[in-house]
Symmetry: D2
Subunit: 329 residues, 4 copies
């Protein structure tokens, strides 16, 4: 299913080359000032334009169909849609017979018995994440004390990200990247033991973003190589603040009031111009595919804000689920 | 909340030093042969005993309260409980005033306003994961084609795990570890785009297990350093099999029929005998804590089967949610 | 929240005088032929026009934003919107200070702290039910063996419904009605014990429709006056068919293969032209309100198909939740 | 599935003749004083004993397995079990070949492919409702301002209930009854538009109780015969109080601060000593069944408190879902 959240609920819909993509956001408290412009900074971060992003240009102007009255949320569900404009469905004709390695072409066909919309990957397209960014902007609005700071730490293993991307483009290839999301202003006490732990909900939302291969908190995978005496964060006051942050701000699934630190491994884009071997359903033999469409060389450039939005909606759901936080709105 | 799953639903309850811990499993199909002994192999893997595990001994005999008739599931919810036997609540008295660094002592207190059961970490105890193992055993039963294989790849950064653990024990310390879960026999088409992706549900369940710091699939964090031409898995037949498995068996959130590969970073146990600085609520000053109770030096030894169980319940929920798989039972 | 269903999930959004109302339908199987015209018969039944219905005219042309490709469902969520056209927001200005007796004006204000959209009752308007009818049309499509037959049995207590409505209009008043929904072709085995019983889900959906005061199955409230020997339905064959249908087709929460019979009490419209006493927030005293807008004298005329749709989505959710039925699609 | 609720979640398990029946209650706030004795008054109301109730005697002593520490809730899930004592499984042997008319024997067999526990109706037994009463007692505890008052208005159509029951017993028959639940102290603003309306959740929970045939609010089915000018409740102050209560305390799905009034039609018990015709699977022909076990002549006597509990858990879920109410705990 395409919805997430118990008390701040997000439902995504739309296809890359259909009339529109969008999102319904349910569980937003009433009285929050919200205008399409509030979404613009995040939408701009997701928009193509920089070197390494697709030449496809979308205006991405959010159209509010519901849930807003006189510039404020009403408490009823928000539906926000983004009309698709710059579509070129013929770009994708080849993938119908030759599924792209690493892409959802093949699994979507199997899952939906061939009835999935194949144009531009249909509902599996990164285009659908624009609705996630819209929901993330709303999520941030209802948690005014939280400050999100997201950074691409490296691409292709290098901290010199522009060079790594330029080199990949020169090779008609793509490149993966490492993204870190930091959230300051976290209250202590967010999250719950076991299945509604901060990490469970945040990772759930992050792994829903196409192209994510790994998620870690605080010391993350490095913790597997550490001793307890190194990894444990000494508590230094009665509020639970710590002098180190190896846990990334969460103990026992519950925020401890320190900075939340999450890192996300984003894979290289699977659609590349370089020739790749794949099965050809037309011939029944192996074939060679060189994608001609408009693609991102480094999806993390645009995905960073999507990941931040995914993190925000997970936190918003926890925020709305604990009356101590929700009632402060 | 303490439940997980839409169509195969698991609800955990219990405290470390209360009368019992247990689980309710709802959504299990009728007619599955199930006896307490079916759980024994997995329970044995979770049981303490090896070097590096706690001296606390629990028989862990599952008591079936419901859902079974004449040795088969009935379609009604299964409730399985495990009586707590070998409890020593006084072990934990110190943590009431001096919360353990890295542990949930502090966050549990904040979350529940001091009403949480502090004895042996109460509901935050790893003891509660015995119910997860029971649920995992049921999950595996309803997916007979799947074969789980879980391995501790390293501890403290070393593949010589016994030595790493022995060294940590010698230092009155604990050590983290890296666990890999491999699932063979995966059908293609399990999972859904976006929020019910295989990775979303599996990571959600894995991060609910205490002590998990990171989760990755296939190439995982290494993908952040790779090129598309390296990371993409060439498709080699009409069933979607691939000649490499950098995606770990999932594309677009949907299983592609190849082996599922998940790695989990497990932190070192936070409770260590070595002295640690922490805030002392009794004095209002920093104090020194050296845990005296019975603890694991390497929680991954016993957590490996818990992680496997968490993975299994996530897959079972997806399995039960797709009528093509569910109807084959 | 504004969503319903576990495996066939419906999310309603929109306000009476906003840009559009609509629905997202998630969990629809792929490959179902579906065109806007398929919804037209049900939309026509909901449309105003007959004596006793509002003079407000809406074209109610469904606009499919997602989930359809080449005339078939894709397995991705369907978003269907209906643009609002014939809006006259000034009609409702009076209700801002004088809440209508029996209407949601007052409770909506309290619930949403005055931020609710008051124009035409906003999200509380019957206008929002057009999305329910759209979802109901999809629900029926995925259960092709079911035949729905809905009848208004009486209005104002009389089987001569046109006369009862005409009399109410002559008195500048409104009138309630009794609606019966009959579903033939029901398979045996739909529904589950306790909380997912057929009656629980169907009543849940029915009571979400504005203006419903009661729901009963089979003999319904008459069963409270009966003996077991009268009310029990004799079983006459090995398929579970019965020679009477006092249970309305459900035993123990599970369909028994006989006709499903549900009756719904629909209240008289609360908005009437006749003068009514109510509290006037402007003066702080009691005042007199005579509604001038465009209203239905008997909401059951248009609500009948909405109730049928609500029943259909509840059954579709159960249908999609049992693999034996879902896999037959 | 056997769970109910989004933020106050109840999961029922157990069979009539298994080791125990019980309930897990998740979402209970921490710090609520709770002892087994707090459940005793409601359990006593459900217990057999009066004329018209089964001779089966169960002590029904709640055993708390989790979620309580030092007499208060901890915020972790409560598991409460009731051991089954006075079981006589041979009473039910006949029903295996001859399903009782009006009972779940036949539908349970179909639903679960014959794997359901048939002893004493297994999970379909009214015995399972003891867990609902336990959950209801907790629900009431977290809404201290609410006062529940439940009355059997009539049995067999007569307000002289003892006589009606005595007459049914004399005829080896059973009799239905009408139950009214009244809740005083309701805050205004509980519930939400559409699918989480007060009526939707309350009816959902009520119809999960075996034997319920109808649910109505306020004027209920009488509203179908009324005019708007009669049925509308005049608002008389700025808090939304009304001078009549035809709506039963709910407008637009949201409580209006007046008394909540719900009536429930409870069918006559289907198990009667009187001979009934039913299909005999052993002979493949129609047969005659005269139940010999221990049964209730009027299930409403014991079900009244179960219905009250169901109403309470639905309200508690709404209460916990609105931060304005939940944060007052």
């Amino acid at each position: 299913m395409n919805s997430f959240g118990r008390n701040f609920r997000v439902e995504l819909f739309g296809e890359s080359h259909g009339p529109a993509v969008g999102v319904v956001i349910d569980g937003c408290p009433p009285g929050i000032r919200l205008a399409p412009e509030d979404m613009e900074p995040d939408l701009a971060r997701r928009r193509a334009g920089a070197t390494g992003t697709t030449p496809r240009r979308e205006v991405d102007r959010p159209e509010f169909l519901s849930g807003i009255h006189e510039g404020r949320t009403t408490g009823a569900p928000l539906c926000v849609i983004f009309r698709n404009g710059d579509t070129k469905p013929t770009d994708y004709a080849a993938f119908a017979s030759m599924p792209r390695p690493g892409h959802a072409d093949m699994t979507a066909r199997i899952k939906f018995g061939g009835f999935n919309d194949p144009r531009g990957s249909g509902h599996f397209s990164g285009r659908v994440t624009v609705g996630l960014v819209a929901a993330g902007a709303v999520a941030k609005k209802i948690m005014p004390g939280l400050r999100f700071d997201t950074e691409i730490l490296s691409a292709g293993g290098s901290a010199d990200i522009p060079s790594a991307i330029a080199a990949a483009i020169a090779d008609a290839d793509s490149v993966g990247a490492l993204v870190e999301i930091r959230v300051d202003g976290m209250p202590a006490g967010l999250g719950e033991p076991f299945f509604d732990s901060v990490e469970s909900l945040v990772s759930h939302a992050l792994f829903s973003v196409p192209g994510v291969r790994g998620v870690e908190f605080g010391d993350g995978f490095r913790a597997a190589s550490m001793r307890g005496s190194e990894h444990n964060d000494p508590i230094i006051d009665s509020d639970g603040h710590t002098s180190a942050n190896g846990s990334g701000g969460v103990n026992g699934g519950i925020s401890n009031g320190n900075r939340l630190v999450v890192r996300v491994a984003v894979k290289p884009a699977s659609t590349i111009a370089r020739a790749q071997a794949t099965f050809d359903f037309a011939s029944g033999l192996m074939g060679t595919l060189a994608a001609e469409g408009r693609h991102d060389a480094c999806i993390a450039l645009r995905a960073a804000v999507v990941l931040e939005a995914a993190c925000a909606i997970a936190l918003a759901d926890l925020y709305r689920s604990d009356p101590r936080f929700a009632s402060k709105e």
